[in-house]
C-alpha cells in the first residue's frame, strides 16, 4: 500500500496527494496526520489536491474528518488546489464539504492559516499584510 508523505514547513504541515488513493491509503493518511499534528504541535495543515483528478464521497469524507480531527488538536486545515472539473462534479454529487476551508493554491492557503492565527489574541499577532481570503 502506498503512503502519502507529510511535510513540515515552519508551523505548517503540507500534504500533497499525488497518487490515486485507495480507501486504505486515505484512512492511513488520516491516522498519520493526526499523529504528526500532535508530534510537531503544528497549528496549520494544508492538503494540496491539485493532482487529484477526482474526489468521490469517500475522499470527501476523509477531508472532512481530517478537518474535524485537526480542529480538536488545535490546528487549522485548508484544502487547496481543487480542479474546476472536480468542484463541478462535487456540486452535482451533492457533497458540500461542510466545515472545510478551501483556497485556490498553497500560497493562498498559507495566507489563510496565517490570518486565522493572527486573529487569536494569545499568539504574537504580527499583523502582516494579510490579504484575507474570506470564506463562508
Amino acid at each position: 500500500m502506498e503512503r502519502v508523505p507529510i511535510l513540515k514547513i515552519g508551523d505548517i504541515l503540507l500534504v500533497s496527494i499525488q497518487v490515486d488513493m485507495s480507501d486504505q491509503t486515505a484512512i492511513q493518511l488520516q491516522e498519520d496526520l493526526a499523529e504528526r499534528i500532535v508530534a510537531t504541535s503544528c497549528h496549520g495543515v494544508i492538503i494540496d489536491i491539485t493532482a487529484l483528478d477526482i474526489v468521490d464521497s469517500f475522499v470527501g469524507r476523509m477531508l472532512s474528518t481530517i478537518a474535524s480531527i485537526s480542529k480538536v488538536l488545535d490546528a487549522e486545515t485548508v484544502v487547496v488546489g481543487m480542479r474546476p472539473a472536480v468542484a463541478i462534479t462535487l456540486v452535482e454529487l451533492g457533497l458540500s464539504l461542510n466545515g472545510i476551508r478551501t483556497a485556490l493554491n498553497v500560497e493562498r492557503g498559507m495566507e489563510l492559516i496565517a490570518a486565522s492565527r493572527a486573529d487569536e489574541p494569545d499568539e504574537g499577532a504580527d499583523d502582516e499584510d494579510t490579504e484575507t481570503t474570506a470564506t463562508a
Binding site: 487547496v80 474546476p84 462535487l90 485556490l104 470564506t135
Partner: protein
C-alpha cells in the same frame, strides 16, 4: 428495378458515346436552375466529373448505388453536395444537379429507340433517383455540421472572462443562457480562477433578459463550485423583473452576495481585500 450488369454496360456505352452532347445539355439544365451563381466552367467541370464517375460505375456493372462499385460515384456526389451546402445553395438546387442527368439522358434515348429503351430508362432513372437521395442526405449532414460549428463558435465568442483587478475576475453575461452555454461559462470562469489565482469572481447578469429556474440553478452551482475551490462569487446586475422572478420562483440565493451593479460589486470586493476606495476624492481636472 435494380440495374442489371447488361443495362449498366449499355448505360456506360450510351453515356460515353455521346459524352460531349450529354454533358453540355446536362450543364445547361443545371445552369438555368442556378441562375449564374456558379460559373459555367466550374459547373461544367462538376458535371464532367459526375459523368465520368457514372460511366465508370456503369462499366463496372453497378446495380445499386450502395454496392461496392458505387464507391467512387458516392465520393463524387458527397463532395459535390458538401461544397454546395457550404456555398449556401438550397437542397433543391443541389439535387437538380443530379436529376438533370435524367432529362439529358431521355432526350438521347428518344432518338435511339430500341426494344429495351423503356425498361432501360426506368432502371437508369432508379439509379439517378438513388443518387439524388444520397446527395440530399449528404447535403443535410453537411448543413448540420456547419450549424453545429457555428453554434460552438458563437459560444466561444459570447463568454469572455475578464480580469477587473488583481485577484478579481468578472464574467459579463449577455443574452439568453441555456444549459449548454451556462456550462461553458461555468467551466471557463472556474478555470480562470485557477489560472489567475483570483479568489473573487463577479458574475454580472445585466445583459441576461430572463432568468428561469434552470439558469438560476446553473448560477448557484457555479457559486458553490467556486466556493469549494476557495473563491467567492458575487452576482451583480440583477434587474427588477429578474429579482421578482427569482422571488416568485422561490429560488434561494442563500448567503450569496448580490449587488445592484458591477461597480457596487467591485467596490464590495475591494473593501473585502482591504483596498481603500474613496468615492468623494475630488477629480483632478485640468
Amino acid at each position: 428495378m435494380a440495374l442489371s450488369a447488361e443495362q449498366g454496360g449499355r448505360l456506360a456505352h450510351l453515356l460515353s458515346q455521346h459524352a460531349d452532347r450529354l454533358t453540355n445539355r446536362w450543364t445547361e439544365i443545371v445552369a438555368s436552375s442556378l441562375r449564374g451563381r456558379l460559373s459555367r466552367a466550374e459547373l461544367a467541370r462538376q458535371v464532367q466529373e459526375l459523368h465520368r464517375a457514372l460511366v465508370d460505375a456503369g462499366r463496372q456493372g453497378v446495380s445499386d448505388l450502395a454496392d461496392e462499385h458505387g464507391g467512387e460515384l458516392r465520393a463524387v456526389l458527397s463532395e459535390l453536395s458538401t461544397n454546395r451546402a457550404r456555398q449556401g445553395f438550397s437542397a433543391t438546387e443541389t439535387a437538380i444537379s443530379v436529376f438533370a442527368c435524367k432529362d439529358a439522358l431521355l432526350e438521347l434515348m428518344e432518338e435511339e429507340k430500341g426494344d429495351d429503351t423503356l425498361r432501360d430508362f426506368v432502371a437508369f432513372s432508379a439509379l439517378v433517383d438513388q443518387m439524388g437521395l444520397f446527395t440530399f442526405e449528404t447535403f443535410v449532414r453537411a448543413r448540420e455540421s456547419l450549424i453545429a460549428d457555428q453554434a460552438e463558435q458563437l459560444l466561444e465568442l459570447s463568454t469572455p472572462v475578464v480580469k477587473l483587478w488583481e485577484g478579481v475576475v468578472a464574467v459579463p453575461l449577455v443574452g439568453t443562457l441555456d444549459s449548454a452555454r451556462a456550462q461553458v461559462v461555468m467551466e471557463r470562469l472556474l478555470q480562470t480562477l485557477v489560472d489567475t489565482g483570483s479568489p473573487y469572481a463577479i458574475i454580472d447578469i445585466t445583459g441576461v433578459p430572463a432568468v428561469d429556474t434552470q439558469v438560476a440553478q446553473h448560477i448557484l452551482k457555479t457559486v458553490v463550485a467556486a466556493r469549494l475551490m476557495g473563491a467567492d462569487c458575487i452576482i451583480s446586475g440583477i434587474r427588477p423583473q429578474i429579482a421578482q422572478t427569482i422571488v416568485a420562483l422561490g429560488i434561494e440565493f442563500g448567503d450569496i452576495a448580490t449587488k445592484a451593479s458591477l461597480a457596487d460589486a467591485l467596490r464590495h470586493v475591494l473593501r473585502l481585500t482591504g483596498v481603500e476606495t474613496t468615492a468623494r476624492r475630488p477629480r483632478r481636472e485640468s
